[in-house]
């Protein structure tokens, strides 16, 4: 039998397989205590801004039926500390690094992108779910005009390929996807978290100190698959698919829906070795189905 070839070309980078970590659920030193990071197709690091952010008060985490809520609030040490610490540490692995970037204004995004452009990260992922402080705190990613503006701004300063990460909390995801494609985004990743809330009826208050938070995990997968499917049919650029992936078959589902590569988020909190387990399960699924390449999976889909 011919050997499996899981390698993929993704928005200008070579990956040995399509499995990556999702931003905010991976820390090189800590995740690396459970598995060999070098096995992954790429790693996506926690959101980083031009300057340090303190994030939200605790409790920041809640559990829901088949999912979870988080209101970490993008706590991060700022781009300089990130480059000196996490990024330096990641150099030892033969795995491309995709740095996730946060900002509150177009200027802030650009500042972080400029700093990260000078490093050897393979790609930048722009998290446009952040609130735009100049326009009343409404999320950049909820409006095609603002999404386009950020994409244009970061593309103009970046030396690296740009992935734009979309928020699912919109009426029409294809509208946003087309807007960022038109401004030259090299790829799209979706979905970020849904906006959710939980109340503790024993304590009679919201579970999160921040009241609302990002809702992720297997519970949200149907929304993610639907959006990947819709966006695949609306734009040409490659897609990183994520949202609730827990198994190798889930990964295959996203690839059939139209993803080129996938990310594992909440699953890695539920099971620290999830990214490599999912990689192995994807291989097993391919063997069982007689698929030799990732393209075979996509082509088998009768959608």
């Amino acid at each position: 039998m011919r050997k499996l070839d899981l390698s993929v070309q993704f928005a200008g980078i070579e990956m040995k397989n399509p499995v990556t970590t999702a931003s905010g659920t991976f820390s090189a030193r800590d995740s690396g205590q459970f598995y060999d990071i070098g096995r992954l197709g790429a790693v996506v690091t926690k959101g980083v801004a031009s300057e340090p952010w303190a994030g939200n008060p605790t409790p920041r985490i809640g559990e829901t039926y088949g999912g979870m809520l988080n209101a970490v609030g993008l706590q991060n040490p700022g781009a300089d500390a990130f480059i000196a610490d996490e990024l330096a540490y990641l150099k030892q692995f033969s795995t491309p690094v995709i740095a996730n970037v946060a900002g509150r204004t177009a200027e802030e995004y650009c500042l972080a992108v400029e700093k990260l452009s000078e490093t050897d990260v393979a790609m930048l992922e722009i998290n446009i779910s952040c609130p735009n402080v100049k326009e009343g705190g409404i999320g950049f990613g909820t409006d095609p005009r603002m999404a386009a503006e950020i994409t244009r701004a970061v593309k103009s300063v970046s030396k690296k390929p740009i992935l734009v990460k979309l928020t699912p909390n919109v009426t029409d995801i294809t509208e946003i996807a087309k807007a960022v494609e038109a401004e030259g985004a090299d790829g799209i990743s979706l979905i970020n978290t849904l906006l959710g809330m939980k109340i503790d009826v024993q304590r009679k208050k919201p579970v999160l100190a921040n009241i609302m938070g990002g809702f992720s995990g297997p519970a949200i997968k149907p929304v993610a698959v639907r959006m990947v499917y819709q966006v695949r049919r609306a734009v040409q650029i490659p897609i990183m698919g994520l949202g609730g992936i827990m198994t190798g078959e889930d990964a295959a589902e996203f690839i059939m829906a139209g993803a080129d590569v996938i990310s594992v988020g909440t699953a890695a909190l539920v099971n620290p070795t999830a990214p490599v387990d999912i990689l192995e399960e994807l291989e097993a699924y391919m063997e069982e189905q007689g698929f030799k390449t990732i393209a075979d999976i996509r082509q088998a889909f009768q959608g």
């Binding site: 205590q33 039926y65 988080n70 970490v72 620290p272």
Partner: protein, 269 residues
Amino acid sequence: MKKIICGKVACNEAIARDIYKMQIQSPELGQAKPGQFVNLYLADKSMLLPRPISICDIEEGCMTLVYKVVGKGTKALSAYKEQDDIRVSTPLGNGYFIEGEELEHHTCDYRGKKVALVGGGIGVPPMVLLAKRLQEQGAEVTAVVGFPEEAFLIQELKGFCQSVHIATDRGTIGFHGNVLELIQEKEILAQEYFACGPKVMLRALSQWCQQQQLSCQVSLEERMGCGYGACVGCTCKIKVVTEAGVEIQQKGVCKHGPVFFGEEVAWDA
């Protein structure tokens, strides 16, 4: 490498109202430091996140946990039967600093040293392993433990402590009041204090220790996501001395803690 292992429940029994003792066996269970915890992963797939529980005792191949039923997860845990499989992490967090390394101005040799272990409610379980280790290192160990009403783990503590003092909120057993009042009233003095329990208790004890210029280690609790450092969900505020002076930094309870020195903690931030 850290890992998630599949253990077998050797026993799971109520030892007080809503308080259960669970023993988990696995050849992959090694040693642990007192104050470390494990993540328990539930079989009910609607509940995704692990439940962090402190290690109460551990021997090659067998670990004892003591937990209180407070919600859905611990309720599900209480229904586990002997011989059931349970997924559990290897020990997480750093535990109490008793390794004998030089820790800034803190002592490193426990031989003959008077130490007091202060536990409140479900903060009592880690005190058992801590008492065992400190006794092994030659310390003279006193335990001061507080409960709402019903006491537990007293026999276990007596095995490693010279004396065990009990306080209950309603005076049902032992001293009527909280552990700090008991310490003050009975003048239970020690060179170093180790504590685990509700935040109000830890804070009051820590402040009292600071006034007395005594060293105090506290084990903090925070709502966790991953329990191993990946999600940045479980931060607490810690004072750190930098070139620029004292700075308040956010530290992960699961990764940098759960144990901190009382004076490091920015209780009001």
